[in-house]
């Protein structure tokens, strides 16, 4: 019953951050790859913060008559926000996000669009992938952890090449560093996500050295996605369990101390274990209280936080045999995080 997906117009969004190459050569390559798909297209470059050289290069392209929209963000809002800003300017029914540096061969873009036939999101997966043993271990560890935590199985979340149906973007509400987890978040919304093997660009085959800070960021991202995926719906279940266990350990310890005091006349006041027990009890209650607070947030917003996504409403009204109302009350979730943060930055 699913109708075949026929894309009619491509919007290509390129967030331009600190990591970027010569945009002119990059654009030429992407353009060649896009033209091969044979659909009308538009390019949207989102400059995440002032990037003077990039802006100049893009304006030159614009003057040369290329179909480029440039969105200038006044400060660096992050890649996820840049993607959303670009999406708001887009008009295509199929969105292609591309990194501002060479990651894959432009000629492979076709494969991603083709994959949308049976999926809502197609993400690139660089294969075969260059890199030394250390990098491979690092990548495997990161993806292993992510997949373990979220129950998904993706192999290249760092790849910025993704094709999405417009509807997916409309429902996604990315913020912070969530672009990396776009595939996971889309899966969570019930969309079908396909991984497509793409050829790694020769420019991408050098080894990158990661600084400790980046490892820390990766780890924090992982923790935030863990909470987002697992516990945003049932905060009291999660915090309540941890809190109750901590409290119970503290209570047991204090009971033991109390019995010792009464039965064996061991002075309570001299025992540092008393302090530990007090800390555990207090910690348990605090964690539990956080769960209550979370639960209250969920409860008071339950009407706007729907757990489900409606794909279609099938109904054949008596008068006209054809039309049907397909409504998803969910995707009207309102203002994007981006517009809010943009306005507050002005103020």
């Amino acid at each position: 019953m699913t109708t075949p997906y026929i894309p009619s117009r491509l919007s290509i969004i390129v967030p331009v951050g600190a990591r970027r190459t010569n945009l002119k050569t990059l654009y030429a390559e992407y353009k060649a790859g896009t033209a091969a798909i044979g659909l009308p297209y538009e390019f949207i470059f989102v400059l995440d913060g002032p990037r003077v050289d990039a802006a100049r290069a893009l304006e030159e392209l614009q003057r040369a008559g290329e179909p480029i929209t440039i969105v200038n963000l006044t400060r660096c809002f992050g890649e996820a926000a840049a993607l959303m800003a670009g999406f708001e300017r887009s008009s295509g029914d199929t969105i292609l996000t591309l990194p501002a540096y060479h990651q894959v061969e432009g000629s492979d873009l076709r494969k991603l669009i083709a994959a949308l036939d049976s999926a809502d999101v197609a993400i690139g997966y660089r294969f075969p992938r260059a890199g030394n043993a250390l990098e491979k271990v690092r990548r495997a560890a990161f993806h292993g952890l992510v997949n373990f935590v979220t129950g998904s199985r993706f192999r290249d979340l760092g790849c910025g090449v993704r094709a999405l149906r417009r509807q997916v973007f409309e429902e996604l509400d990315l913020y912070g560093d969530q672009h990396r987890f776009l595939a996971i978040l889309a899966t969570r919304l019930g969309f079908r996500v396909a991984e497509v093997a793409v050829t790694q660009s020769p420019h991408d085959r050098h080894s990158r050295v990661y600084r400790p800070r980046e490892y820390a960021h990766h780890l924090l991202d992982l923790i935030s996605i863990f909470f987002l995926v697992r516990f945003t719906k049932k905060p009291l279940r999660f915090f309540g369990m941890i809190g109750v266990v901590t409290f119970a350990v503290g209570a047991l310890l204090i009971t033991y101390l109390g019995i010792d005091r009464i039965a064996f006349n061991e002075s309570l006041a001299d025992r540092p274990a008393l302090l530990l027990a007090a800390l555990l009890i207090v910690l348990g209650m605090q964690i539990f209280a956080l769960g209550l607070l979370g639960e209250l947030i969920i409860f008071t917003h339950a009407r706007s936080l729907k757990d489900y996504r409606v794909e279609a409403v099938i109904h054949y009204p008596e008068s006209e045999g054809s039309s049907s109302a397909g409504n998803d009350p969910e995707s009207a979730s309102g203002d994007r995080a981006l517009s809010k943060s943009a306005s507050s930055a002005v103020a």
Binding site: L275, V282, L296, A302, A312
Partner: protein
Amino acid sequence: MGSAIVTTPAHTCVARAESSSNADSVRRHDRPALSIIVPLYNEQESVRPLYAAIVQAAGQLGRTFEMVFVDDGSTDATVDIVDEIARIDSRLRLIKFRRNYGQTPAMAAGIEYARGEILVTMDGDLQNDPADIGLLLERIEEGYDIVVGWRHNRQDKLISRKLPSRIANWLIGKVTGVPIRDNGCSLKAFRGDLIKQIPLYSEMHRFIPAMASIAGPRVAEIKVRHHARRYGKSKYGLSRIYKVLLDLMVIKTVATFASRPMRWFALLALPLFVLSCAAFVHSVLAVVGGADMSMPVAGSGIVFLASAMILLCSGALAELTYARGDIRDRDFLKLTQTVSGPGSDLP
């Protein structure tokens, strides 16, 4: 498969106006007297007999009705079968989920999309008998807001199903103060305006009457028939008890304290405050008596005091959350209040 019937959810301002709040305009048009909501998950054998039984039973009631089937991401032919039925019966509408979300979201979606003045929910596996709908309606007409079915001659195994359920129902009744003998029975009738205001999330379909108790409804319980499962497999088991208990705790706290969050936290903080006072007195007495102050005791006292303060601050945060949330007691009291005297003329 013929002409376009399934429109994917696209534009949502329309959906908002149509599906929710705007009850007045719906009433003026063609609001049916009765909506029958059935969540379906892989019920390809049951769907046709179920449909026939509903139409037969509801047809005898002499009022307009609609059927809202919610497909919870079935992987079998359920959707195709319902689609076929919907083509010949405009009273049927199918809400199709993008993937499997569970029974509570399915119920919540059915309630949201239903337009009737009275909503009836029932199982999709033919365990409930649609012939009982008339009995439920009679009670609603007597002035009850919620009528729940009680499977008094339940056709299930005693040890693995009936006994745990009896204990759970007793416990739920004790804790929530809504003494219902059979919370697990899906056959229930609700006044539409009321149930649409009740937030349903997590796994609360078992606790709809308890959750609805935040609105102070008049609840009745009547005996209904119960048939053994004919097709498919039961999707329940003993393993759910732990989840039921936690959900029960959540509902209890939310229902009693959501509108007074400061009390939760004050209640948690109070014993800590008492303990810290005790520690303080102990220390003062020690010093007055000329002895050394005991470090563990004084330390625990400080820890308890600090924690009590943080809990009170969390309480303030919780108050803020409630004050800023969309779900408030004043919405609920309007649904159930009765007014007499001169003020009753006001809208």
